[in-house]
């Protein structure tokens, strides 16, 4: 259920409940002062009532029709609300391709970071983070602290540091030990609440890799049996600077791990309860937590709360040993016995501590093999973070180091490989140049001897639903002069010649028209602010050749042609089902993006972008293998309008008809738009589209008000084809 729906529904709460909540006050205690105050208040109320009576008489009301509340747009109060998609992107330069992947910071460096610092300040103090992970709204920057023996994490929210936690290897996993419950306030009356006690104990024997198994003893000090609810509330403290004004945020946890059934505890007895507080996304991040459980008695419920800290999780097991030795070796025979599915604890027990920690998320460690100098990388991944999910017995260590720093030649080879084979997948790349040094979000970073190679995955699928590289960047500094490129690069020139003459491009971008044109664009950026864009297309022999070259301002590179407002208003309504793709493109130009559709009968989705920020989507189908024809169209985005299968009706709105009350009363739920138009003519106005509901209005005969009719789309299959009709879901006067 999305936010808008929830907001709409909440907006329609019964007015009686709204009034009840608005007027709610806990009755004043029966004290002497309280009674006096009550008398004074009553007297004031009488006076106010007398004075206000004439005014109140103005509000002698008889009834209310839906939609008569100002600000209401027709389908409910909440329809005003549009919460934009959350922007969870990290600051762009977190993805910088110039970061030193192995840089370290000192404790003194870290001490200069404080709560509330902006990202830019953190960056200028500590440099770019070698590892950045985005979790929801939280961006976690990770720095290696004092070599490889510790790590520092800085969690940032909304572009400022909200808190930061240093998690050095060797720290205690959980703080607190045996911790008595301190907050027993709940729904019990005063005097009773101290009768319940609760103690939390963290036991290393049952402590798992994610620090998520919490065992505590529940002691019933009441004189009645209580039943402990297996559901509990888990919260995390989001401010760490003060204990007086704690702010807690609910944490989603994995409810599937919750034991079923309540646990009964007799008076005076204790029960040992174990809760798996694994969060929804796998494990609990470091911080202070509060867990509130509920015990139901005969007539009352009691809330009991414990607090605990998690200062480390997966890497804590690695941290236990103080003799961590980067030079330690395992035998080749031992390396062969490491299997997928084995636990981290098992591996540490069998092989000792690994020589290196390559990555924290996912946790990846490396054992160095003695003798033949092979390295074994082991990745422990979600959802079982302590379970080996991936083992890479890599090439010899020397070769591994070479892969870690690609040479310019290998980058060149890769470019060549990449350009020749559009839509190269992650697997292809891993086979070709090995795995990246770091993955940040959807970007894989490779260190090279001349800079950093960045591959951005995703956003384009190749029809087989595997991620392909959609963008490639290289951080080398361009020395070539733009005049030289502009004059010497000619059409049909082999792409290799361009690279040899002008070096590796700064950026390579796949054409979004993946299935037809097979054009790749490479970019050279110049100090002047211009860029050369060379389009490369394979010839009949599969050799990439220059197809086109353009010099444009860098700022304008992504300012691709958009459909102007006039076209949006005049032309788009005329795009009708049945038109051929060529006819559509003649009206609108080539689409900016084409996506394959496999949901029959649809075969293709073309996206045209409009200057007002909206997007015009044309859905195509292949009729009997012939030319693609329009199956449906949709205008989505800022305009809020839609002409999905309605373009004709919408385009004629304005010439609308006048209807009578009697006529419009024939409209009931389920009546289709087609039926209504046939009966009453074209509506006066198309009010717009919200979600999947379309609203039209007809003027009523006396012209004083109009009737708004809201339709919802219903799909059905007829003769093997998917069809859609709009059916009435609501109507109201305005």
């Amino acid at each position: 259920m999305n936010r808008e729906t929830i907001s709409n529904v909440i907006g329609k709460i019964d007015p009686a409940y709204i009034a009840e909540a608005g007027e709610y006050r806990v009755s004043r205690e029966e004290t002497r002062d309280g009674r006096i105050l009550n008398y004074i208040a009553a007297a004031c109320a009488v006076v106010v009532l007398i004075v206000a009576l004439p005014l109140i008489s103005k509000f002698v009301f008889r009834g209310k029709t839906p939609g008569n509340v100002p600000g209401e747009t027709g389908d409910g109060l909440g329809s005003e609300v549009t919460v934009r998609p959350e922007d969870t992107d990290a600051p762009s330069d977190v993805l910088s391709d110039t970061v030193d992947l192995y840089s370290c910071i000192t404790q003194d460096d870290l001490n200069r970071v404080s709560n509330g610092m902006m990202y830019e300040d953190v960056k200028s103090t500590l440099g770019c983070a070698p590892c950045a992970v985005s979790r929801g709204e939280t961006l976690i920057l990770r720095y290696m602290l004092d070599g490889r023996n510790a790590f520092a994490e800085i969690a940032m929210e909304k572009n400022s540091v909200s808190y930061y936690i240093v998690t050095g290897i060797g720290q205690v996993l959980c703080s607190g030990g045996t911790e008595p419950a301190y907050d027993l306030s709940g729904f019990a009356d005063a005097g009773e609440k101290l009768a319940l006690t609760l103690a939390a104990r963290y036991d290393s024997d049952i402590f798992d890799i994610d620090a998520s198994l919490i065992s505590f003893t529940f002691e019933n000090g009441l004189d009645e049996e209580v039943r402990v609810d297996p559901l509990y509330m888990l919260e995390k403290r989001i401010n760490s600077d003060s204990t007086d004004n704690d702010e807690w945020l609910a944490v989603d946890y994995d409810e599937s791990a919750v034991q079923s059934g309540q646990t009964a505890v007799a008076p005076g007895e204790t029960a040992k309860l174990t809760l798996t507080v694994r969060s929804l996304y796998g494990y609990l991040s470091p911080g202070r937590y509060r867990l509130t459980a509920v015990a139901d008695g005969e007539d009352a419920s009691y809330a009991v709360t414990i607090e605990f800290s998690i200062s480390n999780n997966a890497r804590a097991l690695l941290a236990e040993a103080t003799d961590y030795d980067p030079e330690c070796r395992i035998t080749s025979a031992a390396a062969d016995t490491i299997k997928s599915g084995t636990k981290l604890q098992q591996n540490i027990a069998s092989y000792g501590l690994p020589a290196q920690i390559l990555s924290l998320d996912p946790l990846t460690v490396r054992y160095i093999v003695a003798g033949d100098k092979e390295g074994v990388d082991i990745e422990y991944s979600y959802p079982a973070k302590d379970q080996v999910s991936y083992i890479a017995v890599r090439v010899t260590r020397r070769e591994a180091e070479e892969i870690d720093r690609l040479t310019s030649d290998s980058v060149y080879d890769f470019y060549n490989f990449y350009v020749k084979r559009l839509g190269v997948t992650v697997d292809d790349i891993n086979k070709y140049i090995g795995e990246s040094n770091r993955d940040i979000g959807n970007t894989a970073l490779y260190k090279t001897d001349g800079g950093t190679l960045s591959l951005v995955y995703g956003s384009i699928t190749n029809g087989a639903n595997s991620s392909v590289v959609s963008e490639l960047r290289y951080s080398s500094i361009r020395q070539a002069e733009e005049e030289k490129i502009a004059s010497s690069v000619k059409k049909n020139m082999p792409f290799d010649a361009v690279i040899k003459n002008f070096g590796l491009p700064d950026k390579v971008k796949l054409s979004s028209r993946l299935y037809e044109q097979y054009v790749t664009e490479i970019y050279y950026f110049f100090e002047s602010g211009n860029a050369a864009i060379v389009s490369v297309k394979n010839d009949a022999n599969g050799t990439p050749r220059v197809y086109d070259i353009r010099i444009r301002a860098q700022d304008a590179i992504f300012d691709y042609p958009k459909i102007d407002e006039e076209t949006v208003e005049q032309v788009i309504p005329r795009i009708m089902p049945g038109m051929t793709e060529a006819e559509v493109n003649a009206y609108l130009g080539s689409p900016r993006m084409i996506l394959a559709r496999t949901d029959a009968p649809l075969t293709r989705e073309a996206r045209h972008f409009c200057s007002d920020g909206s997007m015009f989507v044309v859905l195509y189908r292949n009729s009997d293998g012939k030319e693609r024809t329009v199956a449906g169209v949709s205008l989505v985005g800022d305009s809020g309008a839609s002409c999905l299968d309605l373009s004709c009706v919408i385009s004629m709105c304005g010439s609308g008809s006048v209807v009578s009350h009697e006529e419009i009363n024939q409209v009931t739920g389920g009546t289709t738009l087609e039926e209504i138009v046939e009966k009453f003519g074209v509506p006066t106005k198309f009010e717009g589209r919200i979600d999947d509901k379309y609203t039209f209005s007809y003027a009523l005969a006396d012209r004083s008000i109009s009737i708004h009719i809201t339709f919802r789309m219903r799909f059905y299959i007829e003769d093997g084809a998917m069809r859609a009709v709009l059916e009435v879901v609501d109507k109201y006067y305005l």
Partner: protein, 146 residues
Amino acid sequence: MDAEECVNDAYLACWNSIPPESPQQLLSYVCRIVRNISISRHRKNTASKRKCTKYDKALDELEVCLASPDTVEGAVSEEALSKEINSFLERLDAETRVMFVRRYYYSDTISDIAKITRMSNNAVSLKLFRAREKLREYLTERGYLG
């Protein structure tokens, strides 16, 4: 500043609409106007940048509670869902109902509700948490959540 403008706008909207409108419950009517105007203002303020407000936090709680992989919202009208929510509220005890409405309709903070109800923040959070769970069960039983 925003709050003051919302109050002004609400006064103006009331003045313009009454009469001819004749709400049966003045408080609810005015609350709706204020809520609409406030949400519009909120929408405007947060249209181009991310902000986390009390309103967002309250919505987040409900969104998490009512998340469903097999959502049927496309087939269910908001009107029907609203009726179910009102029916659910009717089943709650008055105190919990007040907390629920204050939290999710008025977007009050936990602290504000705790002051009104004279409970601890923790007790309010817990009561709301249980109410949300009950709501989820209620809607699941009736086929609104998968």
